[in-house]
């Protein structure tokens, strides 16, 4: 009694999650591009696009619910379904953070930007994108080492975040740029949080592979 249909349903669900990941990547690229080029139209597109991410989120959520109800997965199947359930939430949160970036972009309409900070966002955006890719690939390939490498990538994005804060302190004497900068510090924070969610996805992969859940870092330290 090899459970062929069950395996197909599991594969399908995993594919749905990867699709959601691709949508989040598009949203992220759009959000970073919008903020760096002050493109308000693009910002609106990113905000609207979140409906697509949410729809995909519900798709995965419902798939998980159905699988749990009908197939009663156990052992590694159970761990996979639980990991998908949590990864789904992390991806959806990343999508929301992209929306926040887009909204902040609109809020700073007409304020003079700081080129150094924009460069910083570009870098953080690229790092966040890379982290999402690594997180999704580590899940797909059940690669615990790759999943754990997210911790080092997260350190890089955290450092970039600190550089943004330092730069903001430097430009704080300029009133106009200060308002822009204060809003932009939240953009930096959003990108940094996206990195954290990617690490969480990696933790789920490690859980899936080893059967033991542990956080890569202890937040209390």
């Amino acid at each position: 009694m090899a459970r062929i249909s069950f395996q197909e349903e599991l594969d399908e669900l995993e594919l749905e999650l990867r699709t959601e990941g691709e949508l989040v990547l598009r949203s992220l690229r759009g959000a970073v591009e919008a903020v760096c080029s002050q493109d308000l139209e693009l910002a609106d597109e990113v905000i609207a696009f979140d409906d697509d991410v949410d729809a995909q989120y519900f798709e995965v959520e419902q798939g998980v619910e159905l699988l749990l109800a009908r197939q009663t997965p156990v052992a590694s199947d159970l761990r996979l379904v639980l990991a998908l359930l949590k990864d789904n939430l992390h991806l959806e949160r990343m999508g929301d953070l992209c929306v926040t970036i887009a909204k902040l972009t609109k809020l700073t309409k007409g304020l003079p930007p700081d080129e150094v900070l924009l460069e910083g966002f570009k870098e953080m955006g690229e790092r966040a994108e890379q982290m999402i890719r690594v997180a999704l690939r580590s899940l797909q390939e059940r690669d615990r080492v790759a999943a754990e490498s997210l911790l080092e990538l997260d350190e890089l994005i955290d450092r970039a975040n600190r550089r943004v804060v330092n730069r903001l302190l430097e430009i704080g004497h300029d009133l106009e740029r200060r308002e822009w900068g204060l809003r932009m510090i939240l953009v930096s924070r959003c990108l940094e949080r996206i990195g954290d969610h990617a690490v969480d996805v990696g933790e789920q992969t490690a859980y899936l592979v080893t059967g033991e859940f542990r956080e890569f870092t202890d937040a209390s330290r």
Partner: protein, 287 residues
């Protein structure tokens, strides 16, 4: 096997250590049975071999595995039911409270009183409900009020309320689920220590199955329960410890022998089994 697995695991968190200790406290319970290197053959054909495990007091222990893995043969070793099978030979040790169950001075009838058995198909005697439960105490001439014994047995088997007004009616008029609980009551009436159940719910409807499972949960406070089941979710629901048996096929493809693959806490077997074969079985990819 379990020890090998542990050595490859990385340093444990505090939560893991706490979990590990609570697990130990479970397996530190008194062992009712200690099985050491057991094998059973039927006229030379080996049905099961190299089985070693302990069954713990006041717990439910489940044996799962595909057909032909020897789990029914194995459970019958616990009350010497295989004695009744011509050509059956038992090798290795089965200790019951530390005493050799197969020693020459052990009376098989006394063994079966203390270690009762419930079978797949309810098998009440074609007698009244009362006489079914009273049968054992009468035969064994147990002292005390027979009425009280019958009532207690029926109450413990969660059947009393349904039959108290028709104790003199035939047991064959009961539903399948009621008949099975009657068999459990009959087993309990002789005050056993252990109850062996060989697929006790596989002939029952889902509601009756739930009642039997609830019953196991209640009964383990006073008794030790060992169950063979084909229904993995049943094992997951009711058992504290689960043993997975499989079939070892000889290279020539002819000889098929039951072996014990993995024995651990049920929570472990159904979340992170140590052996790939267990994983394949519980996830439904094999068997």
């Amino acid at each position: 096997m379990a020890d090998e697995q542990l050595t490859t695991i990385e340093p444990m968190s505090l939560a893991d250590i706490a979990q590990e200790q609570s697990d130990k406290s479970f397996t530190n319970r008194e062992a009712v049975f200690e099985v050491k290197d057991l094998a059973v053959d039927y006229s030379g054909a080996i049905a099961i071999r190299e089985v070693s495990l302990d069954v713990y007091k006041n717990s439910v222990t489940a044996f799962i595995g595909p057909s032909g893995c020897g789990k029914s043969t194995f459970i019958r070793c616990f009350n010497r039911m295989n004695d009744l099978v011509p050509g059956a030979h038992i090798h290795g040790d089965v200790l019951y409270h530390g005493k050799d169950l197969y020693a020459a001075d052990v009376d098989p009838v006394e063994v079966r009183r203390r270690i009762g058995m419930v079978f797949q198909k309810p098998n009440p005697f074609p007698k009244s409900i009362y006489d079914n439960v009273a049968f054992g105490p009468r035969v064994l001439r147990l002292r005390g009020s027979l009425d009280e014994r019958v009532e207690k047995g029926l109450r413990q088997a969660a059947l009393w309320d349904e039959v108290k007004n028709r104790l003199k009616e035939s047991a064959l008029g009961l539903s399948g689920g009621q008949q099975q609980r009657l068999c459990i009551a009959r087993c309990l009436a002789v005050e056993p220590d252990v109850i062996l159940m060989d697929e006790p719910a596989s002939a029952l409807d889902p509601i009756s199955t739930t009642r039997i499972e609830d019953l196991m949960h209640d009964l383990k406070r006073e008794y030790t329960i060992v169950i063979v089941t084909h229904n993995m979710q049943q094992a997951a629901r009711v058992a504290d410890m689960t043993a997975f048996f499989s079939v070892d096929v000889a290279p020539d493809g002819n000889k098929r022998t039951g072996i014990l693959v993995e024995y651990d806490r049920t929570s472990k077997i159904f979340t992170t089994p140590a052996d790939k074969r267990t994983e394949d079985y519980v996830t439904g990819r094999f068997g």
